[in-house]
């Protein structure tokens, strides 16, 4: 059915489903984190002394990971919450990947090139390959 669909309809459908999933998982993650079901990496009681610090000093004080290293901390409630937050940031990339073949099928090569370039930018940002980002 997607063969005949306009790329905009495909984008809308995937974005709608993804956004719904991200919101539901964010609520679940907040419950697990703030409800104390999963222990946090940074104790909740310490947060008021830490969240006023610049991010570098916050990391020094807590030993919090950077880049994708937090994947190894998913047993902690705060990083389950972060994983849910990341879903919001990854949705556009997923939708662009989905509409690339649709633009090609419609013969819209310039639009497909734009989509491909956008995918490269989003992948570079997500993979932390941007020069100076580290």
């Amino acid at each position: 059915m997607d063969l005949k669909r306009d790329p905009q309809d495909i984008y809308a459908r995937w974005l709608g489903a993804g956004a719904w999933l991200a919101f539901a998982l964010s609520l679940l993650a907040l419950f697990l984190y703030a409800g104390g079901v999963l222990a946090p990496f940074v104790p909740l009681e310490r947060l008021p002394q830490l969240w006023g610090l610049p991010v570098e000093r916050f990391r020094e004080q807590t030993g919090a990971p950077t880049d994708w290293d937090w994947i190894g901390y998913l047993r902690y409630g705060d990083y389950v919450g972060l994983a849910a937050v990341c879903l919001f940031a990854v949705l556009s990339l997923v939708c662009y990947l989905r509409v690339l073949p649709a633009f090609l099928r419609h013969g819209e090569r310039l639009q497909a090139a734009l989509v491909a370039a956008q995918i490269v930018v989003l992948l570079a940002a997500a993979s932390h390959l941007i020069p100076g980002a580290r």
């Binding site: 905009q8 309809d9 984008y11 459908r13 919101f23 969240w51 990971p65 949705l91 940002a125 980002a133």
Partner: protein, 316 residues
């Protein structure tokens, strides 16, 4: 009766923001100590973002542009975390609205794509600059930017259906034209745009500001689409949300990788503003829009002035 309900709601919103200001102004908070339990701040954040969600809808602005200056001014969180949360807040709001707008033709993927590509690259640059700058310079720049935004919002005029003689060559090549059905008038509206190169340059500048300060950028995207490119107002508003969802995604990764996104700040803010926006939509018919817009502009001016003076060391 409905109008008094609207006025009462607005008064309630003002009281919530005032309460946050009082908590913020307490001596212990000013000293960076925590006289209250940890959960009080996320709860206050939820209450304030709920209020922001209501007034943002009523004033016709995105919640993201209100979040960073107001939470940055009245809460004890460092600006690094406030900007990270601001980006995610603007992103989640845009994601919630974009699918329906796309499906109804009130947002155009083809119109948003070139702007999103340019804005994504510059928003990443903006995020890197923002995370490298010292806090005082950042507060000064944020204050000046917010005051400028308030001025733009106050002075800007919008055009429902701007006259566009023809697509410019780049716009034609990118197929930046189409038709959408306006349910309010019951007719199909044909649209096309021009001045595409100038608009892309403008979107590049907006992307830098969005990434640097963690702001939603609807306040700038809509005038560029509507007044510069000549897109109909409804299409401009819808496409602005879609554009924002891509641009803010790019910048959000920079903040996420640096560790500048705290779920305890993001989650209550996102939930608060989403619930507030739902109430705002219901109040839209009965609330005094001019008064709300005036309140929002005053809030922005106050929060911008506060950030500017904080950055200059006048009001630490």
């Amino acid at each position: 009766m409905p109008q008094s309900l609207g006025r009462n709601t607005i008064t309630g919103m003002r009281l919530v923001l005032l309460a946050a200001a009082i908590v913020w102004a307490s001596p212990a908070a000013a000293a960076g100590q925590s006289p209250v339990a940890w959960w009080v701040w996320p709860l206050a954040l939820f209450a304030v973002t709920f209020a922001l969600g209501v007034v943002a809808v009523l004033a016709g602005v995105g919640g993201g542009v209100l979040f960073v200056p107001i939470v940055g001014a009245f809460f004890p969180f460092h600006l690094d975390f406030v900007r990270g949360a601001g980006l995610l807040l603007a992103l989640s709001g845009a994601l919630a609205a974009a699918p329906a707008l796309l499906a109804n033709g009130l947002a155009s993927l083809r119109l948003a794509m070139p702007a999103a590509l340019v804005g994504s690259v510059t928003s990443i640059v903006g995020a890197l600059i923002g995370l490298a700058l010292p806090a005082d310079i950042l507060y000064t720049a944020l204050g000046a930017t917010i005051l400028a935004i308030a001025l733009v919002m106050w002075r800007s005029r919008r055009s429902d259906h701007p006259e566009v003689p023809a697509n410019d060559p780049l716009g034609a090549a990118l197929r930046l034209h189409g038709v959408y059905h306006d349910q309010a008038t019951g007719r199909d509206v044909e649209w096309k745009v021009w001045r595409t190169p100038a608009a892309l340059a403008a979107f590049a500048g907006v992307g830098v500001l969005a990434g640097m300060f963690g702001l939603g950028a609807g306040w700038a995207n809509v005038p560029v689409f509507n007044l510069l490119m000549g897109a109909p107002l409804k299409l401009s508003v819808g496409s602005s949300g879609l554009l924002l969802s891509v641009v803010d995604s790019s910048a959000a990764w920079i903040y996420l990788h640096r560790g500048a996104v705290l779920p305890m700040l993001v989650a209550p803010s996102v939930i608060g503003i989403m619930l507030g926006a739902r109430i705002g939509v219901r109040l839209l018919r009965i609330a005094p829009a001019a008064a709300v817009r005036g309140t929002v502009l005053a809030l922005l001016a106050f929060a911008g002035g506060r950030a500017l003076l904080k950055g200059l060391g006048v009001w630490a």
